[in-house]
């Protein structure tokens, strides 16, 4: 059962454009939604996160938009840079299960 779905699998944008990565979930008990990025040869690292009490979270060029009713959230990367090229994972946390459930990942390529 895939509880967190992520799209697209692969995304290419030009430098300076806004990259948009999407996720949806099924379990209403999820209470924390982070985004991780992973560079080749490295482990996932926390980028930005949001809780359902908010519908938007910003941190520099990175913004999460959250829609609780539709069970969807997205990551917008403004003014994309070649250094942003990585695999991005959305995730959802359930306190009852004490675990993060990850989406399938989006491989982002930013062309100069």
């Amino acid at each position: 059962q895939q509880q967190v779905r992520q799209s697209p699998q692969s995304l290419t944008v030009w430098e300076g454009e806004t990259a948009i990565l999407n996720c949806s979930y099924e379990d209403s008990t999820f209470d924390y939604f982070p985004w991780y990025h992973q560079f080749p040869g490295e482990s996932p690292a926390l980028l930005i996160a949001i809780r359902p009490v908010s519908n938007k979270k910003e941190d520099g060029r990175f913004t999460i938009f959250f829609n609780k009713r539709e069970k969807k959230f997205s990551l917008h990367i403004a003014d994309s840079q070649p250094g942003d090229s990585a695999t991005y994972f959305c995730a959802a946390h359930n306190n009852a299960g004490a675990k993060l459930t990850f989406g399938g990942g989006t491989r982002l390529t930013v062309r100069p």
């Binding site: 924390y32 996932p44 926390l46 946390h93 299960g97 004490a98 990850f102």
Partner: protein, 114 residues
């Protein structure tokens, strides 16, 4: 240095052998996890332990067994490895009652079964 430490970084073995991976965290967390990341980058949780107690045991072949001596250590043993076990195994830790943002991954152990 406070972090999640995994050994070895890389391991090559033959089908049928037994392997063990070690994980230690010095972050003062009380919950530890093992994730498997396959060649398609999919991240799947395998086990989680809270204060040495098994909390989550996903559908994992029985040849996989976690071992926890205390809340700072969580090892993973694989008896009789199969080719499909080739993957990166990521250890992570967090605080059960702390902010979710303290979830921290180790650098991973890459297993190649030949």
């Amino acid at each position: 240095e406070t972090a999640v430490f995994q050994t070895p970084n890389y391991h090559v073995t033959q089908v049928g052998n037994e392997v063990s991976f070690n994980c230690k965290q010095t972050l003062g967390h009380d919950t530890m996890y093992w994730y498997k990341q396959d060649s398609k980058k999919l991240l799947k949780i395998m086990f989680s332990y809270n204060n040495k107690q098994l909390i989550v045991n996903e559908t994992v072949p029985r040849r996989f067994s976690p071992q926890s001596s205390d809340k700072a250590h969580l090892n993973l043993r694989i008896k009789s490895v199969e080719p499909e076990d080739s993957a990166v195994y990521l250890c992570a830790s967090s605080s059960w009652t702390g902010p979710n943002s303290d979830y921290t991954f180790g650098s991973g152990t890459r297993l190649l079964v030949i």
